[in-house]
């Protein structure tokens, strides 16, 4: 590494404090915004921040929110999100956000303060073993014990966070390291000593994949968050590939927006609350092309019944994702964009003709499944169906034509948002997929709005989830962030209630949202606008009023309390055993005891 780093002139180098070196390194890695919360151990960085203008600091109200905001920033821009928190409780509060970013492969660099090096291990005030605690919560972490390592570690952290399969990286910074003078070195040019992820796919594997795909009678493309992480060009290539081949395409929850939802090749999201046609196409396919998805348990259902008669091709940048849950026939390690480009090129070069006739038959079958109209619901009377609320929100934003970003909390509202809100472009949809973190949506929306000040940013929320990080209404007020919080208020932790109804005999243990605040007054007390809608006839007006208001808004939409989220693959069931809504035939099937133990 030393050969590749150019030390700045030595005398100049030692005029900077560690804190100044950190900020300079952030700037040289393209950081414009940092989400944070001050405390004793990071005071030197806050002092340095005060004396510069290159990096903007956004003061959150809780460290967990700082990480989610950085995630929202990262997911909507493709850049690395940056976080600054203090030692001890600052770091432990950030852990949920870090695990969230790890599970969803979001690039975040989190700077944590630490007690000075000579006090480490002494149970000093606000000391915590941050690298120990965050080791399984991060892609990688560092404790800087020598001033000479400081600049290199920050540069390396950004490289690790954004390359390969992205993820969160923690840098633990003892206070003496921040105060003492430290040398600055420019970001390195040479490769990392040990970490060199493979991005270029193997040509032979690509050829094998194309041969399988050309001969496929019932193909399906199953694309996930890896396509989004590979940048907008990867989404463009995915769209090109699907249109060129005429294959049906489904997206995971993380992959929504990677393929335009309004394209006729799109069969909807797959998985536990995916569409009937997507899941049956997965079950019935003969060749599956998985790009940038990880055969998550929400997607596969019962593993031994997953796509039983298919050849599987799996392209992923992380070799450990391949053959982890599902053994595959062709494994391609590489960046989703590079893989798609190679597939397109190879598809065009291969002479073997594609049998369009059998593909037509496959589409006829898919159209039959589609005709079930599995997302159908009946909106009648004054009580607002939650599905209807999301659908109208989508239609109205589409009609307005503004650049729109959606974040969510976790639960039923999240699934309805995924089902009824359409995404035509990548990076417009931010949701906590892997970890399922309630309280994600509001801070994530803050991060998105910071990155896109003129865009319409809406957090589709539930009344229970929103309370988990409601303090961030203060951040919205301070920075005049016009985020819209769209609460589907059914006065239940809806998904918990739904599982209790389906699996636990309707014993609604502790899932009722008692003693809710008046969300209108709550909004007003945080200098925002509050709107409450209780009548279906007022829904559109409420949505329009929310969008038109120039500042932050909480729109509290009272929805049907006992609505369930369908379709659903019950836990432990296979794709072809999915249950449709109450309005559809089949009704709610029983769940086996084996299924009950699954989450």
């Amino acid at each position: 590494m030393s050969a590749a780093t150019k030390p700045a002139s030595t005398e100049a180098a030692l005029t900077m404090s560690g804190a100044e070196v950190v900020l300079r390194a952030l700037k040289d890695n393209g950081v414009e915004v940092i989400f944070g919360y001050p405390g004793g151990a990071v005071l030197p960085i806050y002092d340095a921040l005060f004396q510069q203008n290159a990096i903007r600091h956004i003061l959150v109200r809780h460290e967990q929110a700082a990480v989610h905001a950085a995630e929202g920033y990262a997911r909507s821009t493709g850049k690395v999100g940056c976080v600054l928190v203090t030692s001890g409780p600052g770091a432990t509060n950030a852990v949920t956000g870090l695990v969230d970013a790890l599970m969803d492969s979001i690039p975040v660099v989190c700077l944590t303060g630490q007690v000075p090096t000579h006090l480490i291990g002494n149970d000093a005030f606000q000391e915590a073993d941050t690298t120990g605690i965050t080791r399984p919560a991060t892609k990688h972490n560092y404790l800087v014990k020598k001033s000479g390592d400081l600049a290199r570690v920050v540069h390396e952290a950004f490289y690790v966070a954004k390359s390969g399969r992205p993820g969160p990286v923690v840098i633990d910074l003892p206070k003496d390291i921040l105060i003492n003078k430290a040398p600055y070195t420019e970001p390195p040019i040479a490769a990392h000593r040990s970490y060199r992820p493979q991005t270029e796919p193997d040509a032979e594997q690509i050829r094998k994949a194309v041969r399988l795909l050309k001969a496929a009678k019932r193909p399906i493309v199953y694309a996930g968050g890896g396509v989004i992480n590979a940048g907008p060009e990867a989404s463009r290539l995915l769209t090109e590939f699907v249109r060129m081949t005429g294959f049906p395409c489904t997206n995971t929850l993380m992959g929504l927006g990677a393929f335009p939802s309004e394209d006729p090749h799109f069969v909807g999201m797959l998985g536990m609350h995916g569409t009937y046609e997507a899941n049956l196409a997965m079950h019935g396919c003969d060749v599956m092309l998985n790009i940038g998805a990880r055969f998550d348990d929400r997607v596969t259902g019962r593993l031994n019944a997953f796509a039983p008669n298919s050849k599987k091709i799996h392209a992923d940048i992380d070799p450990s994702s391949i053959n982890k849950n599902v053994p595959v026939d062709v494994a391609i390690v590489g960046d989703a964009g590079r893989v798609l480009a190679a597939l397109i090129e190879c598809w065009k070069a291969e002479d073997a003709p594609q049998d369009k006739h059998v593909l037509t038959a496959w589409w006829r079958q898919i159209d039959e499944w589609r005709a079930k109209d599995c997302l159908r619901y009946r909106q009648s009377g004054k009580i607002i169906k939650p599905q209807h609320a999301v659908k109208r929100l989508y239609e109205i934003t589409k009609e307005l034509g503004r650049e729109t970003f959606i974040t969510t909390e976790v639960g039923q509202h999240q699934m309805w948002a995924a089902q009824y809100f359409g995404f035509q472009k990548p990076n417009r949809w931010m949701t906590s997929g892997g970890l399922g973190t309630m309280g994600y949506g509001l801070p994530a929306a803050m991060g998105v709005q910071i990155a896109h000040p003129d865009a319409l940013v809406i957090d589709i929320a539930g009344e229970a989830s929103i309370l988990m990080n409601i303090q961030e209404m203060g951040t919205l007020a301070q920075y005049r962030l016009p985020v819209k919080v769209f609460i589907l208020n059914n006065e239940y932790m809806g998904m918990v209630r739904q599982w209790q109804e389906l699996l636990h005999g309707g014993r609604y243990s502790e899932s009722y949202s008692a003693a809710l605040p008046d969300f209108v007054k709550l909004a007003e007390s945080f200098h925002a606008k509050g709107i409450r809608v209780t009548d279906a006839d007022d829904l559109d007006a409420g949505i329009r009023e929310m969008i038109a208001y120039p500042g932050p808004v909480i729109a509290d939409i009272a929805v049907a309390k006992d609505e369930n989220c369908f379709p659903m693959i019950p836990s432990g069931a296979a794709h072809n055993e999915m249950i449709l809504g109450e309005d559809q035939e089949g009704g709610v099937a029983g769940v086996t005891d084996e299924g009950k133990v699954l989450v």
């Binding site: 120990g132 080791r135 990688h140 404790l143 040990s194 992380d318 053959n323 982890k324």
Partner: protein, 172 residues
């Protein structure tokens, strides 16, 4: 799943890592966090600068699990190289043990006789004890300890396995 099989196998895996703080905790945490077995684990720096350490881990699992263990190890940032010695061909496995045997009279004579047969060396002796040093495969040390048990085995300290491939090919 079925064709992947549920047959378990043992694997001796060599891992070259950057010798930095916390690297061993990362490897051990990966095994405990993901529920993999560790039968033994050894670690020490192996290059002239002390920057690279070699970890030898003996584990077991289905083929799919062992492939997963290797992939998970390989994606740790400070890991340079992961090698499945069991899969890659002929290799040597050795373990060092220090074995304390306490006794008097005929038992002492018998202990020395057995040690001779196993090529264990006496590295410490008092009038009522011996410490034997032996190297070998784990099974050989197991067998030696089993024989010593009735004649005064008092304490055993073992390194766990270290391993290296036969032939000219190196791991780096």
């Amino acid at each position: 799943m079925s064709e992947a099989g549920n047959a378990q196998r043992a694997a001796t895996i060599a891992v070259l890592v950057e010798n930095e703080a916390g690297v061993l905790a990362r490897v051990i945490g990966l095994f405990s966090g993901r529920g993999y077995n560790i039968d033994s684990l050894t670690v020490a720096p192996v290059d002239e600068t002390g920057r690279i350490s070699r970890i030898t881990v003996v584990t077991s699992g289905t083929e799919m699990v062992i492939e997963q263990i290797k992939a998970q190890l390989d994606r740790l940032v400070p890991v340079h190289k992961v090698s499945d010695l069991t899969l890659e061909g002929p290799h040597l496995v050795r373990e060092l043990a220090l074995i304390k045997v306490v006794g008097r009279g005929e038992n002492r004579v018998e202990a020395l006789r057995l040690a001779d047969a196993f090529r264990a060396r006496v590295v410490d002796a008092t009038t009522e004890s011996f410490v034997f040093e032996m190297t070998g495969a784990a099974e050989k040390i197991d067998a030696f300890c089993a024989l010593m048990r009735p004649i005064g085995l008092a304490e055993v300290s073992r390194t766990g396995a270290v391993a290296i491939a036969r032939g000219p090919r190196g791991l780096s």
